[in-house]
Subunit: 284 residues, 2 copies
């Protein structure tokens, strides 16, 4: 632990009472105005694993939901947990991330998750969505290939992301209007994927709103992930889509296949979207 | 209030302290071994509306998530709430449903939801999924047309459900294996749909597992709904699909269009599935 960027980022120390933990959000996972939500979800999942998997039987988040309450900032964070149900094949718990600002403690995120053991859930595989056809990573667009692929973000330095050229029209001001962004993803430092990093990967691509020409903030209100399988080592194939954008809210679905072509994660989030104000645009 | 079945079912009385309510689960919404989960979600949403919408600005659940912890039974239920964030355009809260059994208080469900005002979110409509083509209700299969369309359930008496004949092969032992069930839905007593009843309607159709030939229990672990718009009066068009069934878990997506053809609700749940044991089968 601690040798890879992601593991360092979600590291938890014991807190002031059982079931409470202390973490540190650093500035190396910034996207736009805040800390990447995937880091917060990974941290919440790690805290719940500590309390739901004491006997080693329920290490894996099968479903995890997070409601985002306020924007996180670099600095200390306290993760509280509550065990709601400890069952034979699954356990369910709640987590809460809180930071202290000038006004006192402010909750950043409240979440719920059910844990189990994915190694017992490999078979039977009755139905699964196939990975979509995509050019190989070598045929995709990395951050070094395209100067405009550089938002105000440190997050991009943590990962190797290669976007399918068919979903990069927005970088040239020509969004496809299909509501799809596809890419290959792995950590820049060689860390292989696991269930905790899948929670991060589901929230790592550019907002699918960009492919609709909506280049602005898309803060997440609610984010739910399902993890059907442990990922194999290697590249992850990530596809984000949206079918519904109305009244300032947008649904965004993400799906991830591992290097063997198995679907290993899927998520849906509801986010708000608005165009940046002129003063915000100036900062970019 | 109280003149329609659904409103009676989710009726809440003040509890023993602010933010707590008392309800009564009756036996008229039974499906299989338990109370229909949609009633519990409707009750949780109503409780949150009471605490998040005191000033009338945030009456509508934009997103609502429920984690099911134990099977509910007819009888008294206590609904607890916690306000997590009261904002200008949205507010977020938590709810919890608890019943007392022989062992003491047992939590049935824990949930989170973000409320706002859908009347402010009608426009702009940038992207929405169109309703799928389906025969009209008169060309679909109702419970009086098909004797096998009668599971051990009182739920069916509460509603008028007409299934698209193309997705009723499972009633004849010939599931389509497409993983889709389509139907028209309205309340049997003429109550028109609203955002609270949409939360129920998302969970009212037969499990999509039936269309894959998996006729058994499919208890819900996690259920998240997004509600993009207020429904117009009239029939609801409901489609449930599944793309992923593996290791005893199944993803089930539901979508609802109102009588004007607008998408008004969408949900995804993770449920477990197993075939009934012989003694359970005997009871059916």
């Amino acid at each position: 632990m601690g040798t890879f960027d992601f593991d360092r980022a979600i590291t938890l120390e014991p807190g002031d009472q059982p079931g409470r933990f202390r973490g540190e959000l650093d500035g190396s996972w910034i996207i736009g105005n805040g800390i990447n939500g995937g880091i917060l979800m990974g941290m919440g999942a790690l805290a719940l694993r500590r309390v739901l998997d004491e006997d080693g039987r329920h290490p894996d988040p099968l479903a995890l939901t997070a409601y985002f309450l306020s924007p996180s900032a670099p600095g200390a964070v306290v993760v509280g947990t509550e065990v709601l149900r400890a069952g034979r094949t699954m356990s369910t718990g709640q987590f809460s991330l809180t930071q202290v600002d000038a006004s006192g403690p402010v909750e950043r995120m409240r979440g719920l998750a059910t844990f189990g053991d994915l190694t017992e859930r490999v078979e039977p595989l009755l139905r699964t969505e196939p990975a979509p056809p995509m050019p190989p990573p070598e045929g995709c667009l990395g951050k070094d290939d395209e100067p405009r692929f550089r938002p105000r973000s440190t997050l991009l330095d943590r990962m190797d992301l290669r976007l399918d050229p068919a979903s990069t029209g927005w970088l040239r001001g020509e969004p496809s209007q299909e509501g799809v962004i596809r890419g290959w993803l792995r950590f820049a430092d060689g860390r292989e994927p696991d269930v905790l990093s899948l929670l991060w990967a589901l929230d790592a691509l550019p907002p699918v709103a960009f492919d609709l020409g909506l280049i602005g903030w898309t803060p997440t209100l609610e984010f739910t992930s399902h993890l059907p399988a442990h990922p194999a080592p290697g590249w992850l194939q990530v596809v984000v889509t949206t079918g519904n954008v109305a009244g300032g809210l947008m649904e965004e679905d993400a799906r991830i296949w591992d290097s063997t072509g198995r679907l290993v994660a899927l998520s849906r989030q509801l986010c708000a979207w608005r165009l940046p104000r002129p003063d915000e645009r100036d900062q970019e």
